[in-house]
Subunit: 402 residues, 2 copies
């Protein structure tokens, strides 16, 4: 078993589950009586020697329970990308010096695509320069666009927020007797996983969203207008990706807000839904509205997916265990077995870093404005269950690093 | 005790609690063994004779429990305003004919300002033309801007959503080490009650929002810039009303999105936060973002205020009871007694219809960018508690009229 202490970092955009993974790592370190240091603001913490003493902070079980339900990254994040190295590098040496001072031999990096690049570079550097430190990546991203895993922690909670919000917005739209269109703009610039999750809003009593547009398919103005013409719903709800492009491959969010006429504005101020809103208004003259779900998709933890939080914690612990057993340069992942269960797996981080997994064709309906049953069967288990949320003064209680 | 049957209508914008009031009315009617008809799409249902048989639909207790937690208006809404009448009116006669056919003698109208105008007109017409029908208004609006009541049903749930969302967004903002500003745009064009509720996001571990701008006070570009200069927070969170105006009394949402320069755009496409965002970007060059909470404020019922739902149901039943005891031309309201309890009261609808209650000066901090302790003491009890939410396939279960 590997000797020495742990360090753990969080990186990339916030999610509702990234602290649950941190929780899993901490619990594993505690169960092995190891010291564990939190790197403040991702790899920057290792560069600056800025570490939090997690053994001290999380002595109290209650603090760990709060951490699990606190959204965003407790340790802070960064978007910093390590530079290439050739032989020896002063920056990399500084990082490993800071690890050595704390006897850190195992480093867990919880993050998305860019973070796996960091794991790759650090484990490469360690191997080539005889550094005695092991590195493992634990995936997280609401975008679900990482290779090497059935799905990513953080995605399930975001998908549950999207589905719940669309279901509620559909009720809101349905109260008036006049025909209307409501666009809901959903995150995921290149990968439509979250937009596809809007389909989970459908129930016995609601068939909204009626149209779903993923960024994997181009959407012409003509198709949009035609799809609305063919839609029999009185109050049409449309789920659309922030990254939807027109038939020429141009982002709608780069087009002029005023009816999407093909000229570039002086600044990108409107989201894709605002531009589509103006197209629909011009074509149909009906009441049209757009709702950008915005950052609540990734930080709204008050109605998180219990499945997601449980898996996020489990894969954090699994990553720590992989380091204890001597693995390095890996990313933990999920394999889906049976209907529904996940098994943690180990990937070579080289095979997954810097790649992007988009929604496959088999998940997109042939009409180009919906998802398939196969997509729904894949997505639904990920949003099941709700955690018990501790509240104080009527709002969820969180924990923060001082 | 008044003989005959009940009719009930919902009107105005959706809230998370308007169906809880409907629930209270239905239960009261059931307990008195009365028939109760739902007017479809507000007063339009009475004009068209379009009624739902609520005794049939809600025989099952479970259906009532679902109704209580379903957002928006189960019976549909309208924005129709009854015309003036002078002596006899064909339209009014048609309405009373439709009531007579169903032996409806007691009508509850659940709604906001415009709805109280409807109650006033119908009860006036009945009195002047010898119609044997009584009318009571039950308040609802997320805006909390009705006179004659300590607060309005629907407001507490919206305020809880705002406070929770701002608390979560503040976590999201805090993960990066660079200075940033995040604007959260909140509903309430003339009354800042909901924007003020953002202050409830503060806790032991977060002092966000750092700046709060209510529509009751004008906000110059210079003041905004100065307030930000004086703000010591690294990641500034700003709660701002959709109806904020500049020093000349012009809505920011009517100004050009591009740095709020004083010229009118050809279309109103940006909200106030987008315009303020561009002003901050230009003045400070820091990462600035705006989040429009949009309709989720009023329809997000998955984390509603239990206090709000309980009171909404109670005041629905109270309105029905007032009709049974022979009252008419009234609006039910809350009086706050002790710390914290509410007592239902009866208002003459004449005294409350068509008025608007804005946030008093004593609730607004002298610096013009915060609320007072007095405001927080008023607001906090309204967001306490969470209902148990029934879910199906990972999303809240709702009920809908077929």
């Amino acid at each position: 078993m590997t000797d020495g202490n742990f360090a753990v970092a969080q990186s990339g955009g916030p999610t509702a589950a990234i602290n649950a993974s941190l929780c899993g790592v901490i619990k594993k370190a505690f169960s092995e009586n190891r010291k564990i240091f939190g790197m403040i603001n991702g790899v920057k913490g290792a560069i600056d020697g800025n570490f939090a003493d997690l053994n001290g902070i999380f002595k109290d079980e209650k603090a760990l329970a709060l951490l699990r339900n606190t959204p965003a990254a407790y340790l802070g994040s960064c978007r910093y990308r390590l530079p290439d190295f050739d032989g020896k590098s002063e920056l990399y040496e500084q990082i490993f010096d800071n690890f050595r001072k704390k006897n850190i031999t195992m480093v867990i990096y919880i993050g998305g695509n860019d973070s796996m690049d960091t794991v790759l570079r650090l484990s490469d550097y360690a191997a080539k320069n005889g550094k005695n430190v092991l590195f493992a990546g634990v995936p997280k991203t609401i975008d679900n666009d990482l290779m090497g895993t059935d799905h990513t922690p953080g995605f399930g909670s975001a998908a549950k927020f999207v589905a719940t919000a669309v279901a509620e917005i559909a009720r809101d739209c349905a109260v008036y007797a006049d025909r209307s269109a409501t666009l809901v703009e959903i995150m995921g610039r290149n990968a439509g996983w979250l937009t596809a999750s809007a389909a989970l809003a459908r129930s016995e009593t609601s068939d909204a969203p009626h149209l779903i547009y993923l960024p994997e398919k181009l959407l012409s103005k003509e198709k949009l207008i035609n799809d609305i013409k063919n839609c029999s719903a009185r109050n049409i709800v449309i789920a659309v990706s922030e990254g939807i492009k027109n038939e020429n491959g141009i982002y709608y969010s780069n087009l002029d807000c005023n009816a999407g006429h093909d000229k570039f504005g002086h600044a990108q101020l409107c989201g894709s839904a605002k531009v589509l809103e103006s197209i629909i208004k011009e074509a149909f003259g009906i009441k049209t509205r757009s709702v950008e779900l915005n950052v609540l998709q990734r930080c709204g933890s008050h109605f998180a997916s219990l499945t997601d939080l449980t898996e996020a914690e489990m894969i954090g612990a699994f990553g720590a265990e992989a380091l204890l057993s001597g693995k390095t340069g890996i990313m933990a992942g999920f394999e889906r077995v049976k209907e529904y269960e996940v098994k943690p797996i180990i990937n070579d981080v080289k095979a997954v870093a810097n790649l992007e997994k988009t929604v496959p064709d088999s998940f997109i309906a042939e009409n180009g404005c919906d998802v398939t049953e196969k997509a729904i069967a894949y997505l639904r288990p990920l949003i099941l269950g709700e955690p018990k949320i501790e509240t104080e003064n009527g709002i969820p209680k969180h924990i923060a690093l001082n």
